[in-house]
Symmetry: C2
């Protein structure tokens, strides 16, 4: 069973978001060893300057790199990443697993995303939409796409 | 204040989805006259044939057309629609409002989407992602993008 780690900056604040995510976490447990790792975002003032944002992202970078399992295949979630259909995404997971990758990591930044260093270090940059979604909503969308990917691989009727 | 109708096939089933949507509905009420109209999807068996799906979509088409306000600018949400960034989406809404459009309608089908007739009748086909999301999640994503669009137009700091 493949391991999947979602490494996310920040918590799901609202109960309805936690319940939503929990539903897909429960469903995914039948298909992968899923782990959600939440890191505390670097504190920022209300209207941060570009350099304050850079420093915050840099301080998050070190903590992200520390948590990265070795030999994992890493997706950095960012709006400039490559978009793909749900079918191609499931194919990608299937191909990675077949080529011996046993651990996938999805990195989700907080409001200001991920540092360039993290993005460069990742195996790929991945985007679910040209639109900007709140990072908490993006986590739920990602869990849904992972569940959908396993349903597509298994030929389930969830994906129509 | 512009009117926005989200005309959706089916209900939000889970309490966490309803709470999630309600949050954005509440926030949107400051920016537009928002109405969510839910139509009952045509009943379908568990593993419907293509012709059963076509008949269901056709029966939904008539009910969708009946509910369409006249003079509305209609977006049909479908995966083959045009994708856009959140910034361009907000620009679109702003341009439509400036050109005298007072009512926007967003059509969201159920699991099997919308009929070709509905898609042809719409002013545009609009997609939020190359990925397939559940229609109930798509409704929440759309409400978030509408709220984000008004925040971008108003220069709020929600959109970074």
């Amino acid at each position: 069973m493949i391991s999947i780690t979602v490494l996310a900056l920040g918590k799901l604040k609202e109960p309805y978001m936690r319940d939503f995510a929990a539903e897909y976490e429960k469903r995914l447990s039948a298909f992968c060893k899923l782990q959600i790792v939440e890191l505390r975002p670097a504190p920022l003032p209300d209207a941060p300057s570009p350099s304050e944002i850079d420093r915050a992202l840099a301080s998050e970078t070190g903590r992200i790199l520390e948590k990265l399992p070795s030999n994992a295949y890493v997706f950095a979630m960012c709006i400039e990443g490559k978009e793909t259909s749900s079918e191609s995404f499931s194919q990608k997971i299937s191909t990675l697993a077949a080529s011996g990758v046993s651990h996938l990591v999805f990195l989700l930044g907080s409001s200001f995303g991920l540092s360039d260093e993290v993005k460069r270090m990742a195996n790929e940059r991945f985007s679910m939409s040209q639109m900007t979604f709140p990072h908490q909503m993006a986590r739920i969308m990602l869990l849904e796409q992972l569940y959908r990917a396993f349903q597509i691989i298994g030929g389930g009727k969830y994906h129509k």
